[in-house]
């Protein structure tokens, strides 16, 4: 795949803290996982790319405009049914009512929650809520899906289910850009790893190489600490 996003000298300062420090990056892989220690600036980088935050300096250069969607660590469910939560995202994109309804149901079926469509979303389990959140973005058929630690607060079974769904979305051609604390998950999903440390890009490496021969000391330390 060709480079779809070039990041040029991106920086974000809050107060006197450099959260993102002079980041330049070319993203070409279809599935990229951003790794790094806590507080390295992973989530912030994703938010800058998604447009939720505005950089203090630098720029994002898109090869072509991509429709994006984002899944957060903690799913935000509106106080309505699971189905209506999925419909809500579609409605905001201006789809007709019948289209919304049909696509939302399809999407819920994809994440295996068709049977819970009419249940109040807030009363679903954490894993089910995250799957509704995935259904909500899947229905939008984004060209780029950003996920910020989507399985961080889930039990192993739910994590696996979410991972399966991410893989399926990726299989439909959507670009994936995500962060995770789960190195096994990173290994299974990623083609390429971006390793970030203290707001700077330490290295950008194909996944197999990253886990066997990381190029930087920071990444080596990180892997040693995180791996059992």
């Amino acid at each position: 795949m060709n480079t779809w996003l070039t990041i040029e000298r991106l920086g974000l300062t809050e107060g006197s803290t450099r959260i993102i420090d002079d980041v330049s990056l070319s993203l070409a892989a279809q599935r990229t996982v951003v790794l790094g220690p806590n507080g390295a600036g992973k989530s912030t980088l994703l938010r800058l790319i998604h447009g939720l935050l505005h950089p203090s300096e630098g720029a994002l250069r898109w090869a072509q405009p991509l429709s994006q969607a984002m899944v957060f660590q903690r799913p935000i469910m509106l106080r309505t049914t699971a189905l209506a939560n999925v419909v809500y995202g579609l409605k905001l994109k201006g789809h007709a009512k019948e289209v919304c309804q049909r696509r939302a149901l399809d999407s819920l079926a994809h994440v295996g929650l068709e049977h819970l469509a009419q249940r109040p979303a807030r009363l679903l389990s954490g894993g089910e809520q995250q799957r509704v959140a995935l259904a909500r973005v899947w229905a939008l058929e984004p060209e780029l899906l950003i996920l910020d630690e989507p399985t961080a607060s889930l039990d192993p079974a739910s994590s696996r289910e979410v991972e399966r769904i991410i893989n399926e979305i990726a299989a439909s051609g959507t670009r994936i850009l995500m962060t995770t604390h789960n190195l096994g998950q990173a290994r299974r999903i990623a083609e390429e790893i971006v390793f970030i440390d203290r707001g700077r890009i330490a290295e950008q490496t194909p996944v197999a190489e990253f886990f066997t021969q990381p190029r930087t000391l920071a990444a080596q330390d990180f892997l040693q600490e995180e791996m059992p």
């Binding site: 935000i76 106080r79 309505t80 109040p120």
Partner: protein, 234 residues
């Protein structure tokens, strides 16, 4: 302390006799204050939500203004509405003074800032939680405000109840714009004021007990409904 027990007794007797005049007064109180609260919610809640979610010049000033107006003295509101609705005033041609409609207007003016300010607080809390998700889905600020109003409906019931409580308890505004006309604009609070004037303190206090009971009953029902709805929707 005999005054209190006398008043309790009087209150029970009034309730037991289900006096037609008393129930008419209680009903008028409820109707006027309910209508005022509904109007205040229709106006105040969108204002509160936009103040919480919006980004526009003067927003902070407006927030301070609405917070300050929560303490608006009822007499001042009554006087303002009186001057507006008086025959010599700008809206005099409609002849609304000394009617329940005038009382609804005055109480709506009194209560709208309360509803708006409390709504702003509720929605601001929700907004900090929902903000990224809603923006990510592409919701405009106006759309986000509408979504949060609906999503926060259970918490917002507290704002509505606070407004209603203020409306039904105030006497200054309805006394001035309603005139406490027997059978037309006489409500619980103005009746209490009148009976106090007549020196019939036990009766005034008994009516006060009934007013408190009515307000408590409404709050209890609202609380139960809210609890049920929250269990239903999470």
């Amino acid at each position: 302390m005999t005054e209190f027990s006398d008043s309790f007794l009087t209150a029970w007797q009034l309730l037991a006799a289900s006096d037609a005049r008393l129930s008419a007064i209680v009903l008028l109180s409820l109707r006027v204050s309910l209508a005022a609260t509904v109007i205040a919610c229709v106006i105040g809640m969108p204002i509160g939500a936009l103040l919480a979610v919006g980004r526009f010049p003067g927003r902070r000033v407006l927030i301070v203004l609405f917070n300050g107006l929560m303490g608006l003295p009822p007499v001042v509101v009554g006087l303002l509405v009186y001057l507006l609705l008086s025959r010599a005033g700008p809206l005099g041609q409609f002849g609304l003074l000394f009617s329940p409609t005038a009382m609804v207007i005055a109480q709506a003016v009194l209560v709208t800032p309360i509803v708006a300010a409390l709504t702003r607080q509720v929605i601001a809390d929700e907004w900090s939680e929902y903000r990224e998700q809603l923006r990510s889905l592409g919701a405009s600020r106006a759309r986000a405000a509408a979504t949060l109003l609906w999503d926060g409906r259970f918490s917002l019931s507290t704002a509505a109840l606070a407004g209603f409580g203020r409306a039904i308890a105030e006497v200054g505004a309805v006394m001035i714009v309603g005139g406490n006309i027997d059978g037309v604009t006489r409500v619980m609070t103005t009746t209490i004021a009148l009976e106090t004037s007549k020196g019939d303190l036990p009766l005034a206090l008994a009516l006060g007990f009934i007013l408190i009971a009515v307000v408590l009953a409404i709050n209890a029902v609202a609380y139960a409904v809210r609890g049920w709805a929250e269990r239903r929707w999470g």
